[in-house]
């Protein structure tokens, strides 16, 4: 999604009615953020919109990027926000071998998740249920963590349900998203 470097374009203020709608949309998509929403997006603070290429809207607050959205698709969290509240998102894990592909902007493929180092919902080795127990459907937003790493490296939308992934063990797992070191990550503000 952001393979190319981005240059910061002008910011505009988000109208308060729109800001309320965005807040509601965020909570609808990420209900676990509820206890933190007033810290992330205080009601009185002015949310700002940065228009990015290819009809992507990025929402920032005091020059801190929070969420972005392509047209009217799912609203996705910026990875710095994911790093702050890792437990509030639906997570999966890729094996170590897949990391460098993801970090170079390649499409996330199912084997990276189905291999022994990867984690999908209901994994026997995931005793604490960090990666969930219920299967996920295509279209759901997932944060991708990595084997041996503490912080997430990717956020995107599932292209294939996790049950299907376990069955076929191949094909594209996620739509293009936002990864560590991409243009969105490197964007400078202020």
């Amino acid at each position: 999604m952001f393979k190319k470097d981005l240059t910061s374009s002008s910011k505009s203020k988000v109208k308060s009615s729109a800001q309320r709608a965005i807040r509601a949309r965020i909570l609808e998509t990420y209900p676990l953020l509820e206890p933190h929403i007033d810290t992330i997006l205080p009601k009185k603070d002015q949310l700002e919109l940065v228009k990015l290429p290819d009809r992507v809207s990025l929402y920032t607050l005091n020059n801190v990027p929070l969420f972005f959205q392509h047209m009217d698709d799912a609203i996705l969290p910026h990875l710095t926000l994911v790093h702050k509240y890792p437990d509030c998102f639906t997570r999966l894990r890729i094996d170590r071998g897949a990391i460098r592909f993801v970090l170079s902007g390649a499409t996330l493929m199912a084997p990276g998740l189905t291999s022994p180092g990867g984690r999908l919902p209901g994994d026997e080795q995931d005793g604490e249920g960090r990666y969930g127990r219920e299967e996920l459907e295509a279209g759901e937003v997932v944060v991708i963590e990595a084997e041996g790493k503490e912080n997430a490296c990717f956020v995107g939308v599932l292209k294939m349900g996790t049950a299907e992934m376990k069955k076929v063990k191949k094909g594209q797992a996620c739509e293009a998203g936002h990864y560590l070191g991409d243009g969105l990550w490197g964007l400078q503000f202020g």
Partner: protein, 188 residues
Amino acid sequence: MADAAPAGPKQVVYCGVCSLPPEYCEFGGTVKKCEEWLKEHHPEMHSKYYSAEAIEQNMSALSVDAQKRAEKDAQKKAAKAATAEARAQEQRATSKVVIKRIERNKRKYVTAVQGLEHFGLDIKKCAKDFGKKFATGSSVTKIPGGGDEITVQGDLSDDILDFILATYKSVPEDNVDCIEDKKKKAAG
């Protein structure tokens, strides 16, 4: 699952060189520099991520074949980063600061300075510095063909040269040229 008191945001350290969380530095092309930075700024994280044990563990998670490919990839990335660095350095080396003495009227001169921006300097700030140092008018003007130059009132070429070399250490002496822009000589 739901805790009564929400835990505050987790503080994540980001690498001062490549901007990623330091655990991901190994996938960029600047590992060496990243490691040095981490050692200096977060020694406890450095010993965690760069211990022989950690590196071995990282390696054992990959098949021999994948290790080879990853290594090749890392080398390519490092080479890319190195060329980018070299290019930036070369640009710095070949860029010139030009100090030009321009005759305005008979015996009245202005001094124009171009190219300071190539050395990581803020032109506007430099113009202010000149104005203060020499107690004279100093302003930034656009030059045809793009870019900015600083125009200082008075014949100050030599003084400005000394001042630049003394004040802005990033500008090497060999990269500064002093030239004189004479009015077209009268025929003859």
